[in-house]
Amino acid sequence: MKTLAVLVATILAAWQGIIWLSDIPPFLLPSPLAVAQALWLNRVEILRHAGFTLTEVVLGFAIGAAIGAALAVSMGFSARLSGVLRPILTFSQTIPVFALAPILTLWLGFGIAPKIAVTVLIVFFPVASAFLDGLSRTPQAALDLAHVMGAPRGRIMWHLRVPAALPQLATGLRLAAVYAPIGAVIGEWVGGARGLGALMIHANGRMKTDLVFAALLMLSLMTVIFARLVSLGLHRIWRRYGV
C-alpha cells in the first residue's frame, strides 16, 4: 500500500513537472493540479452524473449477473441446450458493444434503459461462463453417490452442483463488477445527457480536457469501490460454505 502511494505520487510529480517544463497546451494534457481543480469546482455536477452512472452500473450488474447465472444453470441441466447456446453466447461476444450501443439507443431511447442494456451485455458473459465451468466440474464421486441415492436432478443441482461451483461464480462476478462501469459509460457516450460518460463527451467537445480527466478519475474511483464492495459481499455470503 505504501509502495503504491509512493509510486502514484512519483507519477503525479513527474506529470506536473513535464507540464511546467514544456509547452504542452492544457487542452491536450492538463496538469494534475488543473484536474484536481476541475474536480473540486465541478464537484456537484460530477457527483450528480456519477450518481446516474452508479445506478446504471448497479442495475445492469444485478440483471446481467442474474441472467448469466440463470443461463449457466439451465445449460448445466441440459447438455443439448448447452451445445446450442455455447456457440451463440461466444458469437454474441464477438460483436463489439461499441457497435451495438447506437442500435440499443435507437431501440430503447435516450433514457436509462439502453445504458442498462449495454451493461447487461458486458456483465452476463463472464458470469455465465465462469459459473458454467464450475457447474460442470462437480466431483464425480459426489455425483455417483447422488445418483445411487435416488436424488432428483433439481436437488442435485441445488444441493450439490451449485454450492460446489460457488468459487467459480465468485470469480465471474468479481470480473463482471470491474467491467460493468465500462458498459454504462459506453451507453452514455452514445446518447443522452446524464452520467459520467455523457459529461466526458460534452467536456471533450468543449476542449475542457481537465474536466474529462476529472470525470475519468471519478469513474475509476467508483469502479474500484464497487468491485471491492462486490468482493466483500461475496466473501461474507459464502464464508459459511467454506469457499
Binding site: P152, R155, W158, Y241, G242
Partner: protein, 271 residues
C-alpha cells in the same frame, strides 16, 4: 424345489454379459450372481473391469459398451475409494446427505446447515431407502456413534484424517439402509492398520446385508469374502469357498489359514 418360494435363494443382483472399451474387449463374457445376505468379493488386478461391473450393477455411467443384462430389484448403497464427502457439510450433514438430496430431512434439522431449505416429503424412493423424516437425526447420531466419531459430529471433512473420512462414508452408507451395498475399493487408500480396523468395523456394521466388495487386495478378499470371484483378462473364475467366518466379524488378519488363503489368491492372480 421352487427357488422363488425361498427369498434367500433368489439373488440380490446378477449381471451377465461382456463389455468393450471402443473396439477393445474390456472383459470376456462373465456371469455374476450376488447371493442375498453374503459378501461377494470381486478380486482382480487394475484395469480388468471390476469397477465397471460394480457401476453397471449400481446403474451408473461407465463409458463402456456393455452387451448383456443386469438384474437388480432392490435399492443399493455405494461406498468407494474416494469417500465423496461434501466439503461444506459437517459429519452429520454428510451422513444424512441422501435424505437431504431426496428432500426428506425435517425442516428443523436442515436449518442448521447452509444450503438447507425446507421441502415437502421426498418422492424419489420408497421402501427401505427412505427413513421416516422425524427420526433421521437420531439415526444419524446413532450411526456416527457406531463408527466412533461422536466427538467430531460437527467437524467438516477437511479436519478429518483419511480413516475418519472413510468412517463417515461408512456411516453415510448405513444411513441409506439399503439391502444391497456396493463397495468399490473402499479401503485401498488407507494405511495397513487403518485398513484392518475399517475391515473389521465394516464387517460388523454391514452384517446381514448383501455386499459386493470390489478389491485388488488378496488379503482383503481373504478376510471378508464369503465367496471370492477372480476377474482377470481371461474372464471370471470362482475361487475355492473360504471357511465360514464369524457373523459380524472379519477373519483375523494374522490367522494362518487366512494368510494361506491370501497366498493362494495371490498365486491365482499371478497365474
Amino acid at each position: 424345489m421352487n427357488r422363488l418360494a425361498d427369498p434367500a435363494a433368489t439373488p440380490a443382483a446378477s449381471l451377465s454379459g461382456r463389455a468393450w472399451v471402443g473396439e477393445a474387449p474390456l472383459f470376456a463374457p462373465v456371469d455374476l450372481v450376488l447371493e442375498r445376505g453374503r459378501w461377494t468379493c470381486l478380486l482382480g488386478p487394475s484395469g480388468v473391469g471390476k469397477s465397471t461391473i460394480l457401476r453397471l450393477i449400481a446403474g451408473l455411467d461407465t463409458g463402456v459398451r456393455f452387451d448383456g443384462k443386469v438384474h437388480r430389484d432392490q435399492p443399493v448403497a455405494l461406498m468407494a475409494q474416494d469417500p465423496g464427502l461434501i466439503p461444506w457439510l459437517d459429519v452429520t450433514g454428510n451422513v444424512t446427505l441422501g435424505a437431504r438430496l431426496r428432500g426428506t430431512l425435517p425442516i428443523s434439522f436442515m436449518a442448521k446447515y447452509p444450503g438447507g431449505r425446507p421441502s415437502g416429503p421426498g418422492k424419489g424412493t420408497d421402501g427401505r431407502g427412505a427413513a421416516p423424516p422425524a427420526d433421521s437425526a437420531a439415526r444419524a447420531d446413532a450411526l456416527i456413534r457406531a463408527v466412533g466419531l461422536s466427538d467430531r459430529a460437527d467437524h467438516r471433512p477437511d479436519r478429518l484424517s483419511g480413516g475418519q473420512r472413510q468412517r463417515v462414508a461408512l456411516a453415510r452408507t448405513l444411513f441409506e439402509d439399503r439391502p444391497l451395498v456396493l463397495l468399490d475399493e473402499p479401503f485401498s487408500a488407507l494405511d495397513a492398520r487403518t485398513r484392518a480396523q475399517m475391515q473389521e468395523l465394516s464387517a460388523g456394521l454391514l452384517a446381514g446385508r448383501s455386499v459386493l466388495l470390489v478389491t485388488h487386495d488378496p488379503a482383503e478378499a481373504a478376510r471378508l469374502g464369503d465367496r471370492i470371484l477372480l476377474l482377470r483378462e481371461q474372464g471370471l473364475s470362482e475361487c475355492p469357498a473360504p471357511p465360514p467366518r464369524r457373523q459380524g466379524h472379519a477373519r483375523p488378519y494374522d490367522a494362518l489359514e487366512v494368510l494361506a488363503m491370501q497366498a493362494d489368491l495371490m498365486r491365482r492372480m499371478m497365474a
